[in-house]
Amino acid sequence: MKPKLLLAAGALGVASLIAVGGVSSASADTDYIAKYGIKADVPGMCSYSSIDAKDYTGHEITILTHAVPVMGEPAALHSKQFAELTGGTVNVVHAPFGELYQKVMIPFQTGQHVYDVVYGGSYWIGDWAPHLAPVPQKYLDLAEMKDATAAYQGVASWRGERLQYTVDGDRHYFKYVRPPFEDAENQAKFKAQYGRDLEVPTTWEEYAEVATFFNGWDWDGDGELEYGSTEIVQRDNIAFSNFITRVAAYAKNPNVTGGFWFDLDTMTPQVNNPGFVKGLEMWMAALEYMPPGGINFGIAEEIFSWGGGQSLMSVTWDDAFIQAMQEDSPIRNKILVGTKYGASMGSNKVWNRVTNKWDEFETPSVAPYVAWGWGAGVSKYSQEQEMAFDWFCFFSNYANTNHDLLIGRFGVNPFRTSHMDPAYWEKEAGWNNDVAVSYTNMLKSMDTSTNRVFDLRVPGVNQYYTAMMASVSKAMAGEMSAQAALDEVAAEWSRITERIGVDVVREAYKNVVALEDNVPLSAVK
């Protein structure tokens, strides 16, 4: 072939390749959307196209996650996608929540490398910290990671180092069915009975009155009895979170820093102070306005009960709310969240553990509980850390998270600043504007609060919580008074602290105090 012709043919061939490549890029982007059901492949290091460019053929990771569906289903889904895109092998092992802790800790403590990625409660970070690989800087620099709110970046950190990859954010907040409050007949009856207007409650005392009023009759005309409140009360079924929600308003004082669970200076447990006792007494009384069997309600029963319209109010996780906003829910778009003062019920009186007196507040003091949420990390013993972190990167990329947030059963809840834009929920989830605004305002209020409550994220946390709920549940069952139960807890907590080491627990608890008071760790003395 003549040189000029050869050159022309070559140029044409190259041009064709470029053209084909260009068409392929556009097709590839469309393919991801069509094939994987996402709205758009947001460009970045974690995008579908970026991960597709990686080649993990011959590499394998094992993920330990929760049972399907909560976290287990999105983990399985995105693992399958990741494997298809990269050629790597991703094994997903599911375990019920009650078994996750030991399934993670036994390999960690015995030095066996079993899992590359582990999921669990983020409050276990005190126990997991020695065994997790820090998140590399290149992932911390990602837009997705920087978009995580300060609270959830803090939850994923330990001693200033990010050890958990932020994939979820949880909280406890007040949620209620709106129409009964707006019904004129209900308003008249309530006023006649209680001498005040029927309003959305802002304190636990008001909550009790409203719940009692709406307890045990058919206020929605469906032929079934409804009740005042549904909460998670069953012992050892994460009821500790509802206990925290109940006591926070009475025991977390905005005038007092340096510890909600312990006095940081002396490491004296605070769990039996009058604030905690008052909260527990109110919770014991609350059984009267819960559905029959309420004392035995776990999270599944709560989601089903409140999400199905069996009760008027609840102060628990996101899951019940997201479930109630699904397309087929009978109360979709009829629910709101938060009060005019914050995310949860407040109190006009809060115990001051420094002055040993009750402080009075004209406006109810609210202490929102930034509940633990799902924590996940890469084992430092993993031989495939890069693949594991890329898996996380992919799992929580914008496309996947935006998809997962809308499916209640997936258990992925808002944790980014971008999730706190009401427009997202209106556009993507079809929520009414007032619901979306109510929800996102509640999310924002928790993130900026300087009077928050977090879990006791210290080594041996399960010992503390199990001891706490063993006694609290006895009080709930009427076996002992609230004071006696919490005295029992305080005594056991002191013994646990002695066993683990006072200084060990104190150093760990400083991390929690930093989160509670919303200050840098260095500011906690």
Binding site: Q234, R235, D236, P292, G293, A475, A477, E479
Partner: protein, 293 residues
């Protein structure tokens, strides 16, 4: 001598399995019980008798033992009584006897956790069918899982429902192996069905009874999954058995060393209790029938 050598060679694999799955874990647990292995201190260090000293004053542990033994007593009593009754009903040739035998052993074949979840749904106080059925008959709903006594009864009920089948099989097999001659003699003597049962059947069944009771006592003392699925040991501590407590202490709280000591105490008490029970029952049943003859 060659025979003896071959005998030992053939026994060796079984011995190896025995050591691997019973002897070694037992010895390891004993060793663990003298260590302080927990969430902060993994490894086999030595803390002497500290774990055992702590166990002696652990009120939760001893309460759980009390709850366990009460539950076991009622479970085994009802399972034995019902199992024996069903076995007697199907002992002789009855219409569709094979069908009923199959029906009665089905509960035993279902995974305990699955059954516990099903029963939890049945006991659900607002959404479960049981209270609805009671209401149809004008009986108020029962707080099956939310009050101490009904929760205790519910656990016993589920255990009895599931494991009466085992008693039924063991006792039916025993009945079928009884000799005919004593019955012929009783018939000749003009004994009715009750006297025949009291003086012939029950005494002859003594060895089977002892075996079945001991087996069932051992198994029911491990009662855990039903409680885990239905009540989480609540309300309060009403249904907290030792197995449940050991599970929480070891795998939730990661107090491995301490839980090993609790396990050893529990094992020793169980062995002593069972040995005493078997001996007393033997004397009561077999001793008496021998005296009669």
């Amino acid at each position: 001598m060659i025979d003896s050598r071959y005998k030992h060679i053939f026994l060796f694999p079984a011995l190896l399995v025995l050591v691997a799955i019973i002897i070694f874990p037992l010895i390891y647990t004993v060793r663990l019980s003298f260590s302080g292995w927990d969430i902060n201190r993994p490894g086999l260090d030595s803390v002497g008798w500290a774990n055992y000293a702590r166990a002696l004053v652990d009120g939760g542990f001893w309460n759980s033992m009390g709850t366990l033994y009460q539950m076991v007593f009622f479970c085994v009593l009802f399972e034995y009584t019902l199992g024996f009754g069903l076995a007697l009903l199907l002992w002789k040739q009855v219409k569709a006897g094979r069908f009923f035998r199959l029906l009665f052993i089905i509960p035993m074949c279902v995974t305990p956790v699955v059954m516990a979840v099903v029963w939890k749904t049945i006991f659900h106080e607002t959404l479960g069918p049981l209270n609805d059925i009671l209401n149809w008959f004008g009986i108020a709903g029962v707080p099956w899982l939310s009050e101490a006594t009904p929760a205790f009864i519910s656990i016993v009920l589920v255990d009895v429902w599931q494991w009466t089948s085992l008693m039924f099989i063991l006792l039916l097999a025993g009945l079928m192996s009884l000799p005919k001659e004593p019955y012929e003699a009783a018939q000749i003597d003009g004994a009715g069905p009750i006297r025949t049962f009291v003086h012939v059947t029950f005494p002859l069944m003594a060895p089977i009874t002892i075996g079945a009771l001991v087996i069932r006592l051992i198994e029911s003392s491990k009662l855990m999954e039903t409680i885990y699925a239905m009540t989480s040991a609540g309300p309060g501590s009403a249904t907290e058995t030792t197995s449940y407590l050991l599970y929480i202490r070891s795998l939730r709280e990661f107090q491995i060393g301490y839980t090993a000591s609790l396990s050893m105490i529990y094992l020793v008490i169980l062995i002593i209790a069972l040995a005493l029970f078997a001996k007393l029952l033997s004397r009561a049943l077999i001793g008496r029938s021998e005296a009669r003859t």
